[in-house]
């Protein structure tokens, strides 16, 4: 399932980037002067404590939130200047919360991911059929095809939503806290799936809560605190006890993950820090 590169776009180090972004909901400013670029074909994970602006940044990159100042660029053009459907063929988003329409089946829901590729008189091409089958196979929901989405377990449902985003066949896929509300085995399942997708050449960007999971899966880590980017880079280079203390106000020790060799954070036994740095 080769993700079609956008026509005529120059090969750049970063197809998706934001420059001097000020992000705000109504009057409440969440972040100012953010500069960020997502390395191509990376698995970028944005991480930070609650309310640090990580989901807001992701929403801005996905054009869900219009920045007060600055701009998000996709393939060199300001993202809002591109036709919306055109963007949707290059960049997909798995939102934090979506609503399952009453009585919809898994196959129907996944098929809705083909919307950006369809037109009024081209509602269901062979390519659509293939993409949906492929997406359902990749997420292992093929056997669930005729089931009603409402009746699925949380983990299955999240896989179905992921399948829908995959059916969109975008080279870049943004995921807003894809593991929330899942138990640990389903969390790993979803993240493994993301890693597989990354290996097929997609650029993945995810907001995650768990620092250890982020270290294990990310090829590029963006660490945020208080609306600013504190550190950026490969997890092994970035994650240090000082950083964890500074960002999460947590004293810890960092060891090597016995499975992957990536950093593993072990909180100190008495963990309250008296004064944040």
């Amino acid at each position: 399932m080769a993700a079609a590169p956008a026509k005529g776009s120059p090969l750049m180090a970063s197809r998706l980037s934001g420059t001097s972004l000020t992000l705000a909901y109504d009057q409440r400013v969440v972040a100012t002067d953010l500069n960020v670029s997502i390395p191509d074909e990376s698995f970028t994970v944005i991480i930070g404590p609650n309310a640090c602006g990580k989901s807001t940044l992701l929403r801005a990159l996905a054009r869900m939130l219009k920045p007060k100042t600055g701009a998000v660029h996709l393939d060199g053009s300001v993202i809002t200047s591109l036709p919306s459907k055109e963007v949707a063929r290059r960049l997909g988003l798995l939102p934090q919360s979506s609503i399952v329409p009453d009585g919809i089946t898994v196959a129907d829901l996944v098929a809705r991911g083909r919307y950006p590729h369809q037109r009024l008189m081209r509602q269901w091409s062979k390519a659509d059929e293939k993409a949906v089958a492929e997406a359902m196979r990749a997420t292992d929901v093929t056997e669930l095809g005729d089931r009603i989405v409402d009746e699925l377990s949380g983990g299955q449902r999240q896989r179905v939503w992921l399948a829908m985003a995959l059916a969109q066949e975008t080279p870049i896929l943004l995921l807003d806290e894809p593991t929330t509300f899942l138990d640990i085995s389903h969390q790993i399942e979803v993240l493994d799936l993301c890693a597989d997708l990354h290996e097929t050449g997609r650029t993945m960007v995810a907001v995650l809560h768990d620092l250890n999971q982020a270290c294990r899966y990310a090829t590029h880590l963006i660490v945020m605190r208080g609306g600013a980017i504190v550190a950026e880079g490969e997890p092994g280079d970035v994650v240090t006890p000082e950083l964890v203390r500074q960002v999460f106000e947590l004293r810890c020790e960092i060891i090597q993950d016995p499975q992957t060799g990536t950093p593993l954070i072990v909180p100190e036994a008495r963990r309250r820090v008296t004064a944040p740095a």
Partner: protein
């Protein structure tokens, strides 16, 4: 089921097609029954002849001048209400999101009553109703707008407007002289009696223009039902689609109210019945329109014949249908 011609492809659900066909047949059957029966029975062959303009003069008079306009108005108004209900239920993601409850029908009533009190003709009343509906909708939309219109805010602002307008309506009724109050009161219950071709024509025109528009936005609207973010991620201009849909829904309920008065609950019940019949996820436009048409003509037929010779206003029957529908909704969703 998919039909492909070259690079064109259209997707059709077999069950929806069968249901649609069945509803069409049902609409025809109800129409024929309404045309044939009454104080003077017209045999079915005479109806066909009358429609073709070759029937006996009596049949032509009764069918062409008296019954056919009423039936056609009923079909069109029902379809318009059904469609409008489908739009608002999809927008509000709620089976109770209906133009009846969020002020639009009440606004149309206000316009209509003002026209009655001002001593207007049938045409003025219709115009007043349409204007009242549109003005209300614009105000509700403007008040609900805060960097976009969320479904729930539209509903709540609409409910407020509804309460205000209902009060204004009763004030107007208590101020009006007894004749105007009776005229307005009858119109307010919603009725199809005495409707002529001039009532049917505006609704037909509105449907001709708005039906394609609805078909065009129905696909993006189905995506918006999954949440604004999910829809935006698929490249849908959520606010634009929503504005077009609201405009279409308001105009439909406006012209329908103008033609038949505020017949409540057709817009509420038709989309949900259609959804159950087609077993499709979410709200379906075409089936809702057809169900609305069948529902209203059948209710009107029952209103005419049930207590004959006493003629009930069709609004009473649709209110009863609405009540039953709510109870069913209650039972169905208990588990």
């Amino acid at each position: 089921m998919t039909i492909r011609v070259g690079s064109w492809s259209v997707r059709l659900a077999p069950r929806a097609l069968i249901t649609g066909a069945a509803l069409l047949v049902l609409a025809c059957a109800v129409s024929v029954a309404a045309l044939a029966t009454g104080e003077y029975t017209v045999p079915v062959p005479d109806i066909v002849a009358a429609v073709l303009g070759q029937g006996p003069p009596v049949a032509e008079l009764i069918v062409g001048k008296l019954r056919a306009p009423r039936v056609v108005t009923g079909l069109l108004v029902g379809a318009a209400f059904g469609l409008s209900g489908a739009i608002f239920q999809s927008l509000t993601r709620n089976p109770l999101g209906s133009p009846d409850f969020i002020g639009f029908t009440a606004g149309a009533s206000t316009g209509g009553i003002i026209a009655v009190v001002a001593g207007g003709s049938a045409m003025t009343i219709a115009g007043g109703a349409l204007a009242g509906c549109v003005v209300t909708a614009v105000l509700v939309y403007a008040l609900a707008y805060r960097g976009g219109v969320q479904g729930y805010r539209l509903v709540l602002v609409g409910i407020g407007a509804n309460a205000l307008l209902l009060a204004v309506n009763s004030y107007l009724l208590t101020r009006a002289n007894i004749n105007d109050a009776a005229t307005a009161g009858a119109w307010l219950t919603g009725s199809l009696s005495g409707r002529g071709w001039d009532h049917a024509l505006p609704v037909a025109l509105a449907l001709a223009v708005l039906l394609p528009m609805c078909a065009y936005v129905s696909r993006p609207m189905r995506m918006i039902e999954m949440g604004d973010d999910a829809a935006k991620a698929m490249g849908i201009k959520v606010e634009a689609v929503r504005a077009v849909a609201i405009a279409a829904g308001v105009l439909l309920s406006g012209v329908a109210t103008a033609a038949a008065g505020p017949v409540i609950f057709v817009a509420l019940a038709a989309p949900q019945l259609a959804r159950r019949l087609t077993r499709s996820p979410g709200v379906t436009m075409g089936a809702s329109a057809l169900t609305g048409a069948v529902l209203l003509t059948a209710a009107d037929l029952a209103a005419q014949r049930l207590l004959a010779p006493t003629q009930l206003p069709v609004g009473v029957l649709t209110a009863a249908i609405g009540g039953t529908y709510l109870v069913l909704l209650l039972r169905k969703e208990r588990h």
